[in-house]
């Protein structure tokens, strides 16, 4: 009996000791780290989706990155540490030293430290310097597609968020869904096997496969850069698309920015002028109005117009660009010599209502719906605000504000059978178990197939018999149109400032690509025919070789 009582007292003593220890730990020393360690819930961050070009080549990936932090209590020589880190991180010593505040326990110092820098710093074995894992974007092709890709920054809560371009438009798809891991852990942080182990896996972001071809992108960027230097233009854009599907094959605007160092650039660089800026298109607009006239059977390519001098509309006088008049000319010749007065004639045959209706059908004044963040809709005045002069000037592309992407979409309808197709950059969205293909979407039909065949021939003739003979690729029929629009400044046009452009397609019979080139304020010549057009043919030559297009002449 005594032995049983002793045994009971022995177990009671152990039991009381355990309770006393728990009482002490929980009430007198409630260390936050201990409480956190017991039931630990970790957020599992998903990996942001990657972006690939048409051929599966990476344009945007993720890379390992680290947050460098200090634990000042463990740092005995702040000056020495600052000296060593300054060279590696390219940050002045004084800035580093001023951050090491010995009154604090933990200080976040620099985000985005890459693997190589981390290895060098780790080899220095510095006390009080540590790293926390995070991920950041990696651009293998540097800023080849800066405006297209956009960049990943932080929102007000410090979470990653995509801005501009694809990163902005597809942010929800790319960022994925976070998961969590809830585990019971012992005092040194090891999971307790028989305790709670609940895991909800994160869902990584979806990958995007673009219609953009890295090689096309490289060609047009290189050529545009050369063009900007040769013609001393302030800004330029090149858009290349498949005219039938309106899948964008390449889109470059310069100047652009470095996605990796986006914070070093001002906000104006982030806007993609191809979708976010409007301009008066000038003469590249003429074929659209001409096609409308043919579609409505108001004119035929061989109809004559007597170009005998300027046209007076109210108090305004409309002239040709060189103030020269050829007398009787055909509709085709109006495009060839880019006659403003000829287009006013076409507009008068078409009628004001029809002109306005076709502008709407071509999609001006509305967003194209391209899958890039930051698109603007351009501006098409309400019809009742139009003066008679507006209906005349719009026939040669003045008095209307369009975006380059709207212009390409509308022009593509002249060569693809008359369809207005929604432009797209992404052709496939891939998740771990599903794949979604984005199919071309025809919004509406503007002109008939017959009209497109006629207008294509007229545009080929415009290139063949235009005012200037360009260095075209031999053996290929190419259609296109030049444009030179003056820039409106404070209600007036400044003749010294123009936007030169050329839109063309090749090969004419069954176009593989349509390309728009715009140059803002070229200094060597204000004319599209002497700046944007040669640049277009330079690009076309390389694209023809790249796409292995056989000669058709």
């Amino acid at each position: 009996m005594i032995r049983a009582k002793l045994l009971f007292l022995f177990f009671l003593a152990i039991f009381i000791a355990v309770i006393a220890k728990l009482f002490y730990l929980q009430l007198f020393r409630p260390s936050a780290s201990l409480l956190d360690n017991y039931l630990k819930t970790n957020k599992i961050y998903p990996e942001r989706g990657r972006i690939f070009d048409h051929n599966g080549q990476p344009l945007v990936l993720n890379q390992n990155s680290y947050l460098l932090y200090f634990e000042p209590k463990k740092i005995s020589d702040p000056k020495g540490i600052s000296e060593k880190l300054a060279g590696i991180l390219q940050i002045p010593e004084a800035s580093i030293e001023s951050k090491i505040d010995s009154s604090k326990i933990w200080i976040s110092f620099k985000s985005g430290v890459v693997e190589d820098q981390k290895k060098i710093i780790e080899n220095l074995h510095l006390d009080g310097v540590g790293f926390q894992y995070e991920m950041k974007r990696y651009y293998p092709e540097a800023s080849l597609s800066a405006h297209l890709a956009g960049f990943v920054g932080k929102n007000s809560s410090g979470e990653d968020i995509g801005y501009f371009g694809l990163e902005g438009y597809y942010d929800k798809d790319l960022k994925g869904l976070p998961g969590f891991l809830e585990t019971e852990r012992d005092i040194i942080g090891r999971p307790i096997f028989i305790g709670t182990q609940e895991r909800v896996n994160s869902e990584n972001g979806r990958d995007l496969q673009l219609s953009i071809d890295k090689t096309v992108q490289e060609i047009i960027k290189r050529k545009l850069k050369q063009g900007l230097e040769s013609y001393k233009a302030k800004q330029g854009c090149v858009i290349t698309a498949n005219p039938y599907t309106m899948q964008i094959l390449g889109l470059v605007c310069l100047p652009d920015y470095d996605n990796d160092q986006y914070y070093q650039f001002s906000e104006e660089y982030f806007k993609n002028p191809a979708i976010s800026e409007v301009y008066e298109p000038g003469s590249i607009f003429k074929p659209l109005v001409m096609a409308a006239g043919i579609e409505e059977k108001k004119i035929k390519p061989d109809d004559f117009y007597n170009e005998d001098g300027p046209i007076q509309i109210g108090e305004y006088q409309i002239r040709t660009w060189n103030n020269k008049y050829e007398g009787k000319i055909t509709m085709t010749r109006i495009l060839e010599k880019s006659s403003n007065v000829g287009m006013v004639f076409v507009g008068s045959k078409l009628g004001n209502d029809s002109i306005y209706s076709y502008l709407q059908k071509y999609g001006f004044g509305e967003q194209t719906g391209i899958d890039l963040q930051g698109e603007t809709s351009g501006y098409l005045k309400p019809k009742n605000n139009w003066y008679p002069i507006d209906f005349s000037t719009v026939t040669f592309g003045q008095g209307i504000a369009v975006t380059p992407i709207q212009m390409v979409r509308a022009f593509a309808s002249l060569v693809n059978g008359g369809n207005i197709v929604r432009p797209t950059v992404v052709e496939k969205i891939t998740a771990s178990e599903e794949e979604k293909t984005i199919k071309p979407k025809i919004e509406r039909k503007v002109i008939s197939g017959r009209t497109t065949e006629i207008i294509k021939k007229m545009l080929v003739s415009t290139v063949e018999n235009g005012e200037i003979h360009w260095a075209k690729p031999k053996g290929y029929t190419i259609g296109g149109k030049t444009g030179t629009a003056q820039v409106p400044i404070q209600g007036h046009y400044d003749p010294s400032k123009t936007i030169a452009s050329f839109v063309g397609f090749a090969p004419a019979e069954n176009p593989k690509f349509i390309t728009l080139v715009t140059l803002r304020e070229p200094q060597t010549s204000p004319w599209g025919s002497e700046t944007a057009a040669p640049l277009f043919f330079d690009i076309a030559k390389e694209l023809i070789v790249y796409y292995n297009i056989t000669p058709d002449q």
Partner: protein
């Protein structure tokens, strides 16, 4: 019968005690393994990401252009071809 139960308890108690100890120790060992594999998985994932980055860098046009420039493979240095020996012999 009473004796049998008494001996049974004497046998079962140590078995339960050792079983308990075994489960406890196994729990610690498995906890260690979980912790180890968590770290390893993370490390392998990071290595994968880094290798992916290096591969795509080596495969990039940007890298090709830099190599071409460092090898002086530019217009000033045209290729020498056997079909055009005159060129090769610098005549």
């Amino acid at each position: 019968m009473k004796q049998l139960i008494k001996y049974g308890i004497w046998i079962i108690m140590p078995v339960l005690l050792f079983a308990n100890m075994f489960i406890f120790v196994s729990g610690i060992v498995l906890g260690n393994q979980i912790s180890h594999f968590e770290k390893e998985t993370k490390k392998i994932h990071q290595q994968n990401v880094e290798l992916d980055r290096q591969t795509s860098h080596l495969d990039s046009l940007d890298y090709a252009a830099s190599i071409a420039a460092s090898l002086d493979f530019v217009k000033r240095s045209p290729p020498i071809v056997l079909e055009n020996l005159k060129y090769a012999l610098n005549r």
